[in-house]
Symmetry: D2
């Protein structure tokens, strides 16, 4: 099962070449992860940031085709690997039949001192449902 | 020889956890590449975008330590691979002795139809000077 | 009648003080106007930008109370004045009973040379429905 | 005496119409104020945010001519009114002979509870030097 986050390409996302400026994709990725935690895991970024955080440790993205103003993307998130305190996600943006980008992101669950801490069991169970088959 | 781009961490770069929000690093990377083309290669993004562009095809980054408001980074750029129409860069941010991120970015030089085109010879020669040893 | 644009305050909107960084409000205002044109006026920013644009000529905002990560805003847009080629909007953000900001924005409808041009009659009629009473 | 903050218009600032997207001007304004406090007042935003902040209470801007990628702006800041805990600034962007925008911004100096507090005397004295004649 994938979590799907719809994202319309707005004026603010686009550059003078008329296509999405790639750092804006990373904002969309962060928004997608935030909404995933909030709506699917019942573990909001607001709550998490009271006691720590989920910083991104590593990320890579391949931009396979440009997106233009007005495009309607589906950003699909799946869990690749659920570690003790880490989480590797695949995040893919699709417009119609076309893949626009494929990203892999590794997050770490940290406490307020920035030390990695184990995911709570119920969160881990919720993540398992989104494991890539 | 590396191109060094100084970057102060400003209020706008930081998130509620008090550290740089990672998509802002990608804006800094883009700025660094833009200033590199403009000042070191004599081939400005303004000129390039009249007849095409240099879209980012792929990028990966590892964030090894957080940056905070007020930190003074040196962003170091070196050429890893100079292809016919592509360019792979290593971009590293350092604060004092500490590495904050290491990124690899692959750009493509395209014409106004988005087709890859060969780097001009003088540009290629200029890039060679920044080849990682 | 007001156009209401719901906006959740996300991690990316907030600064190290834990409140919305005010330039992000201007992005929200632009998004609100874009979605208003697209969904209520049937005159999308994508279409408009093929032949010209609707640049913001003037804007003012009063930030009456801070917004925090997780807040759910309603951004309400009403037309204050519909000129020949201009449009003055009031855009107000409300969270529960509290006003977070009140902005006044003046847009101009321009052609591809940047010259002001009259709003089409059907667009003007659509705008009238959102006139502040 | 005005504080002058040079700002090159970069690729990231521009929209599909090829001109600066107006919310980016507000980021530049914030950067200008931050650098002004840091270099001219000797009172850095980093220090201020340890014990409070300087939130923007009100801002207005008139965009008199568009800025394009590659333009070199001088952003000029002057103090209009120095209140007990407030500060009204005029911030104007000039490119060659042409004014690009004129903004008025009102900041408030607050403590960690968000309550207005008096500017320290030495800061007030430093601000007086930048009072608009």
């Amino acid at each position: 099962m994938a979590f799907v986050f719809p994202q319309n390409i707005l004026f603010k996302h686009c550059d003078p070449a008329g296509i999405v400026f790639f750092p804006r994709y990373f904002e969309m990725i962060n928004d997608c992860v935030e909404v995933f935690f909030d709506t699917e895991l019942g573990f909001s970024f607001v709550e998490i940031h009271k006691y720590g955080g989920v910083p991104t440790a590593e990320i890579s993205a391949k931009f396979s085709a440009p997106s233009r103003h007005g495009d309607k993307l589906d950003i699909r998130l799946e869990c690749i690997k659920i570690g003790r305190a880490s989480l590797t996600l695949e995040i893919k943006a699709i417009c119609g039949e076309e893949t626009r980008f494929t990203a892999n992101s590794a997050l770490v669950f940290v406490n307020s001192q920035g030390r990695p801490q184990s995911w709570p069991n119920d969160l881990r169970a919720a993540l398992e449902k989104f494991k890539k088959g």
